[in-house]
Amino acid sequence: MHEQIEHLETLRHRANIWKGFLFIVSAIAIGVAFFFIFGDMPLGTEITMMVFLVFGIFFSVFYYKSQSKFVRAYKEFFALKVFESIFENISYEPEEYFTKELIESTYITSLGNRYSGDDLLSASYRGVPFQQCDLLIQNKGYGKYSTTVTYFKGKWMIFDFHKSFQGYVQVRQKQGKTVKPGMFSDKPLTQKVAMENMIFNQIFDIRASDDKLAFYLLTPHVLESIMELEKKFDGQMIFAFIDGKLHIALNNGKNAMEPSLSTQVTEAAADFILEEMKIIMHFIDVLLQEQVMQAAIKAK
């Protein structure tokens, strides 16, 4: 463990050194360019600029490579270490993420014109299969002033739900960071549903293709658990139950598995990743408890 952290620290320092070189070269190049434009052009300025340009490209390539190497090593070590300690049947692809078509089919968020992600994890917890990845969905406007609006930045999780059903139910947290709403106009069958829990109705909006389906899936126990999750985690939470699957989108503006070059690598990084995994563990625990509880009620 200690050796691995030392190795990661070496990689981080190396990336920081290249970053430093790149910064110095860029600063000098800007200074020279300033003289080139506004001052008397000394002899050989063009050559000097060319030299700086070559060095700039050279340092950029090395910086990018060393940073990628550090990030990859960090993820392979910490993420895998955490995953292996709690999940089974792990398949982890740091560069992969859910397809745009899959996310579009959930009607949770608009997709804008910039879509990217990473850290696709497929695994199972207590026998329940799930998948998750980090996503960044933005819309860049090109007008007089270019603006970038972030629709979604955070974690997206998909579970196999323990009840088989056909239809659509969405639970959307009203407060918190706003996610641009999904296109309900394309989903004409969705109607607003009010649960018997008034506090839940104040915090969340519920829409469903059939209100009986909403009550079937959102049992009092599931409602309580969703409220517990809402208290525990920052950011807006959206749950979508679609044809036997449960999607949980946490728009918290974070990417937990992305290390920072300016932060020292310590063992605490594993705790941070573990904290993010608690949503999955919590919800699967809830679903399994739900099954046990239904069986207990039936047996009475």
Partner: protein, 179 residues
């Protein structure tokens, strides 16, 4: 002139409120009726499964079959109180079937019975959902009936509060869970 405008504006506001409140009543009443029909469907399913279970049990426990002779009253359009009674009778019958199944391992081993037990669980979950949907819509409707100013409209059109589908005492108790 000014009085006429004020009076006209008030009349328009009143008409808009009247239409909105009437539609709210009508819409919620339909939702309650829909939810009640959901309860009917779930109760009928539960009854059908229970009858099938009884047939299987009677095949193995001929002597104890008399304990399963309770009549469960089910008819179309019965009021919610009678539905609650029907559900209580079904619960009582289910308990007796479960007790007999405990005494006869052959019943528990019967594939048809196992399948029916799984169906019972699913039907009960649907019944619970239908009951909650009904009660949630009844709450909204009953609030309109007793709140001012919508109670004026309720009196005018003779709307009365709906009865809740009250869960039986046994289901209200805490469930002991073992993991």
């Amino acid at each position: 002139m000014v009085y006429a405008i004020v009076f006209g504006a008030l009349a328009v506001i009143l008409i808009i409120w009247f239409i909105a409140a009437y539609n709210k009543f009508a819409h919620t009443k339909i939702k309650v009726q829909e939810a009640e029909s959901g309860i009917d469907v779930a109760l009928t399913k539960r009854y059908d499964v229970l009858v099938k279970e009884m047939e299987v049990v009677k095949g193995y426990a001929k002597h104890e079959a008399s304990t399963l002779s309770e009549v469960i009253k089910m008819r179309k359009g019965m009021p919610i109180e009678e539905k609650v009674d029907a559900l209580k009778s079904m619960d009582s019958m289910q308990s007796r079937i479960n007790m007999l199944a405990e005494s006869y391992p052959q019943i528990r081993a019967n594939e048809n019975f196992k399948q029916l037990q799984l169906t019972v669980r699913d039907v009960e979950e649907h019944l619970q959902a239908a009951r909650r949907a009904y009660n949630a819509n009844v709450t909204i409707f009953n609030k309109l009936v007793v709140s001012f100013p919508s109670l004026i409209l309720a009196k005018l059109f003779g709307y009365r509060a709906f009865a809740f589908f009250v869960a039986e005492d046994a289901k209200r108790e805490d469930v002991k869970m073992e993991f």
